[in-house]
């Protein structure tokens, strides 16, 4: 029997998703990660659930928005855990799913291994898993 599923629609965050960093404009990928994606994934991880992220319904995306959001998720939890629990739903533009799975996740996994921390343009604290799989906090700014 499969795991229970939790649904996260980006439309609930914004109809007009913005740029990569919070300093560059409203509804950024960075803010989406901090406010919604990180807590949702963490909850799913703790409660042994899958997370379905729905990209449909919005006005569209900049590649940098998705790269920052899913990239930071990979940086904080590792590619294996993200691939195991997160499935991306994008009926309108399936190419985003390919970009995230084939480019963003491997590239940010490399950043995780190289300890190349994400750039922060807003104040935040998120929880991530370190190399031993233990929960730790990571702060921005």
């Amino acid at each position: 029997m499969g795991r229970e599923k939790e649904h996260l629609a980006i439309l609930d965050y914004s109809e007009y998703p913005g740029p990569r960093y919070d300093s560059q404009g409203p509804d950024s990928g960075e803010k989406f990660y901090v406010k919604l994606l990180n807590p949702s994934f963490l909850r799913c991880f703790r409660e042994d659930k899958d997370l379905i992220v729905d990209l449909d319904g919005t006005a569209g995306y900049a590649s940098s928005f998705l790269d920052e959001a899913f990239g930071q998720l990979t940086y904080d939890f590792g590619a294996d855990r993200v691939k195991d629990r997160v499935s991306i739903q994008s009926l309108d533009e399936p190419e985003w799913r390919s970009m995230i799975n084939d480019e963003t996740i491997p590239q940010w996994e490399k950043r995780r291994n190289d300890h190349q921390a994400p750039k922060a343009t807003m104040e935040y604290t998120v929880i991530h898993l370190n190399e031993s799989g233990l929960e730790e906090t990571r702060s921005g700014l």
Binding site: P17, P19, Y21, Q24, P26, G60, Y61, S64
Partner: protein, 352 residues
């Protein structure tokens, strides 16, 4: 005893003399001759008034990007280099642009001109100007919303009076909602129903995001202009960002810059960037996804007639050819059109 004039540092002496000369100028005379460093510039006939400290420059008669791009780009470069040369010499300055002799002007050159004015404004330089004597040129400028944008000091216009209007002027932040709205309106114009058109929103947000992310390390040089023109059977979009340009931004490490300058021309490098080739060559991870995405949208037929001007390259996406421009453009200009067919292609793809 020391203290004779012989012992005074010559540098200090020059500074004192310059200070004295500046003091002398603060007098009742309304006109002051142009300082020597201006005489070497193209604006040799211009004068500085004591009260306003305005710099004067005249736009060429043929200020149309479609017809004479070199003349438009040359004017932009000359004006900005004039500002840079005068940067440390005077404090309060405002440019006065003389448009009287302009006979031919188009929306692309207006956008480029506006982005220059916005760039000057962000550097603390005001701008003023007059209208062309030529009626057609005057009408084009008025209908573009250019003067309203100037009068409102670049605040966003709430009403759209004309069909050929500059839509948004921005600087350090992307205005997602406004960009999304412009897409909806364009689709509404073509189909009769305002709705999202994802590829177009993606393109606009990629362009403006690139502008604020890569444009320039100097915050005050970041700015972008979006213009939307409603034509009979299509909607034409122009996005202009000022900064350094794609090719100057991408060439970050000197070995690559050297190799590209020796073995490849700028057109090939830009073509590579658009085809994702550059990312693999430089091994720069999680960057440069935006421009390939823009090209994918064009190649899929979701927009038409896309053209990119950056640095010394004018790239035509429809024919996949490029030409070199003599006067470098420090920034990026994108221009494309949206037709009903483009939107139908997207609808068809969604239904598959």
């Amino acid at each position: 005893m020391g203290g004779t004039s012989k012992n005074i540092n010559p540098g200090k002496k020059r500074k004192r003399r310059a200070k004295f000369k500046r003091k002398v100028r603060v007098g009742p005379s309304p006109m002051v001759t142009v300082p020597r460093f201006f005489r070497r510039s193209i604006f040799s006939g211009s004068t500085l008034t004591y009260h306003s400290y305005k710099l004067k420059s005249s736009l060429p008669a043929a200020f149309s990007f479609a017809e004479d791009k070199e003349s438009v780009l040359g004017f932009l470069n000359d004006t900005f280099s004039l500002y840079k040369r005068s940067k440390r010499k005077t404090k309060d300055r405002a440019f006065v642009f003389d448009l009287k002799s302009v006979e031919n002007i188009d929306i692309t050159s207006i956008c480029l001109f506006l982005s220059l004015i916005n760039k000057l404004k962000q550097n603390g330089i005001g701008s003023r100007g007059n209208f062309p004597d030529n009626e057609n040129a005057r009408t084009t400028i008025i209908e573009s919303g250019f003067s309203e944008m100037m009068q409102s000091e670049f605040k966003q216009l709430k009403t759209k009076k004309y069909t050929n209007q500059i839509y948004i002027v921005g600087s350090k932040r992307v205005n997602n909602k406004r960009l999304g709205q412009s897409v909806k309106e364009a689709v509404g114009y073509l189909t009769g129903e305002e709705q999202h058109f994802k590829p177009m929103y993606t393109m606009l947000i990629e362009m403006c995001s690139n502008s604020v992310e890569h444009a320039n390390r100097n915050e005050q040089d970041k700015n972008w202009v979006v213009s939307v023109s409603y034509e009979e059977d299509c909607v034409r979009f122009i996005v202009v960002d000022t900064g350094e340009g794609i090719l100057r931004t991408i060439h970050k490490k000197w070995p690559e810059r050297f190799m590209d300058s020796v073995y490849r021309n700028d057109g090939d490098v830009l073509s590579d960037i658009l085809d994702k080739g550059y990312q693999s060559r430089t091994k720069e991870i999680n960057r440069h996804k935006g421009l390939p995405r823009i090209k994918e949208c064009h190649d899929a037929g979701f927009v038409s007639d896309m053209m990119i001007l950056t640095n010394n390259v004018l790239y035509d996406m429809s024919t996949k050819t490029y030409q070199s421009v003599h006067n470098e453009y420090f920034g990026v200009l994108y221009s494309w059109s949206l037709t009903l067919n483009n939107f139908k292609k997207w609808e068809e793809r969604k239904s598959i």
